[in-house]
């Protein structure tokens, strides 16, 4: 694909996050790597590759669903409570809730939702949401008074105000928070799957092979490569470009 076409696609999609074709190629390679690793790994450990992929896939889907719920909730909360008297009331409450050890909620969640996806996702949401919420709040704190005045003079309000003003301002925080939140999320995900004894998923995988140190070690290595490549492929370029966008 020529450089020009690539650039025009990226411009259209408003994702100007890769500086060059080489940058993109390296990143793509990094995504392919974990899959090759998993394939090789399953051969070595004499596990059906399908089984392994389905475990990774199930965990991944749980995390993505929990992440999406967290982002939507965190953004709405941030927009509602980022300034004025509401902020004075809400921020200390958020702070207390954030400090509350999420694992303490796990027995209750299991009681209510059973050994289900809902339990895992619920638990992930109350883990992931805080770094995202607080990062968005800190982004919104950087709003300059003159920007607000310029918006007020323009008379912009309603959905346009969210779309053209509050959303772009909150993006850098959303991305920073996502990186931290997902980091914590992977950890919480595997732990919850093990504790709740979920059927399927990485937690289940580690449970099953807990007696085999080699496979466990390889599994951990695979997980690390997956997380690393997701950061490298997606989050870091996005983070860089979002910060560049806010430069004046």
């Amino acid at each position: 694909m020529s450089d020009g076409i690539m650039k025009s696609i990226m411009r259209r999609a408003h994702i100007n996050i890769y500086n060059s074709r080489k940058h993109l190629a390296v990143t793509l390679l990094l995504v392919v790597l974990p899959f090759l690793f998993l394939l090789g790994f399953s051969r070595y450990a004499h596990i059906a590759a399908g089984q392994l992929f389905s475990d990774v896939g199930m965990s991944f889907v749980r995390l993505v669903v929990a992440y999406l719920i967290s982002v939507v909730l965190a953004w709405i909360l941030a927009i509602l409570f980022y300034k004025g008297r509401r902020a004075k009331v809400a921020l200390p409450v958020f702070d207390v809730l954030q400090s509350f050890p999420a694992f303490a909620m796990l027995p209750l969640a299991t009681l209510v939702f059973g050994r289900s996806n809902t339990t895992v996702i619920f638990f992930l949401v109350i883990t992931i949401i805080w770094p995202i919420l607080f990062s968005i709040l800190s982004s919104l704190k950087l709003i300059k008074h003159e920007w607000e005045e310029a918006v007020e003079i323009s008379g912009m309000g309603g959905v346009d105000y969210l779309k053209y003003f509050l959303w772009p301002v909150s993006v850098p925080g959303l991305i920073t928070g996502s990186i931290i939140g997902l980091g914590e999320g992977w950890e919480a995900l595997v732990a919850t799957e093990i504790i709740v004894r979920m059927h399927g998923g990485l937690g289940d995988f580690f449970n099953r092979y807990s007696t085999n140190a080699e496979i466990t070690a390889l599994g951990i290595a695979g997980l690390l490569i997956l997380i690393f490549s997701m950061n490298k492929l997606f989050w870091l370029p996005l983070l860089e470009s979002s910060h560049r966008r806010m430069e004046e």
């Binding site: 005045e149 310029a150 003079i153 323009s154 008379g155 053209y164 772009p168 966008r245 806010m246 004046e248």
Partner: protein, 245 residues
């Protein structure tokens, strides 16, 4: 004589650590449509505050502001000292901002933006971001954004004070040209006396602590104004004398 904006008994007080600090004391004035009105005064004379009160940005004050000639808030624009451009939007999108707020149709919006880009010599920078522009270019975008909505009144808060003197001179010329062509009312604040004399029809001299209008000068010097003429110097001396503590 018709009046587009009048201020009656404007007072403004800040409450700071238990003390009351009077910023503006009993400001009264009337501005005619199409007039170029400039406030000049040293820092601390409350001129920026007064501009924000008159434009409706600051609602916490005593006294009253009246808009005449059926002026609506949507027909008011503001140019900021530090440009206040949105860094996540391109030059074209910044200019478009007020048009989106007014629900101007897509096609019409593009036409207006293109016209403003041409007026301000920004065609080549339409897709650039504010971070890529010089100060002078940024303020061109700021003024273009303010003009795109075809305002009847434009407030300008020291619009040239962040620019080098060459750029400022050039932008002042552009502003006068646009003012002649489109005839908006311009209400501007500056601390540079020469700038006030070069631009204004009338000059209100503000003195500080608390800010009050010391005198309003009718500036009858013929346009284009000669900065080295005797009359120019004479007016400058008179105003300097008033501001001098």
């Amino acid at each position: 004589m018709s009046i587009i904006l009048s201020a009656k008994h404007i007072i403004k007080t800040y409450h700071e650590s238990g003390r009351n600090l009077s910023v503006l004391a009993d400001i009264n004035l009337e501005i005619s449509p199409g007039e170029f009105f400039v406030f000049v005064g040293p820092s601390g004379s409350g001129k920026s505050t007064l501009l924000r009160i008159m434009s409706g940005l600051d609602k916490d004050f005593g006294g009253s502001i009246f808009y005449g000639e059926k002026l609506k808030p949507s027909e008011i624009s503001f140019v900021f000292q530090q440009f206040a451009l949105f860094p996540w939007l391109t030059v074209a999108q910044n200019i478009e901002f007020g048009l989106i707020a007014r629900s101007v149709p897509d096609k019409k919006r593009r036409e207006i933006v293109r016209a403003e880009l041409t007026t301000f010599g920004l065609e080549k920078f339409a897709h650039a971001y504010p971070r890529d522009l010089s100060g002078g270019m940024k303020q061109r975008v700021g003024i273009a954004r303010a003009l795109a909505t075809e305002p009847r009144v434009i407030f300008m808060d020291e619009p040239f004070s962040e620019l080098d003197s060459f750029t400022a001179t050039e932008l002042r010329k552009d502003l006068l040209r646009i003012w002649r062509e489109r005839k908006p009312t311009i209400i501007m604040v500056t601390h540079i006396i020469e700038e006030a004399i070069e631009l204004a029809d009338r000059i209100a001299v503000l003195t500080p602590r608390p800010g009050k209008i010391e005198k309003i000068f009718q500036n009858t010097l013929p346009r284009p104004r000669q900065e080295r003429s005797q009359e120019f110097y004479r007016l400058e001396d008179t105003i300097t004398e008033i501001i001098k503590p």
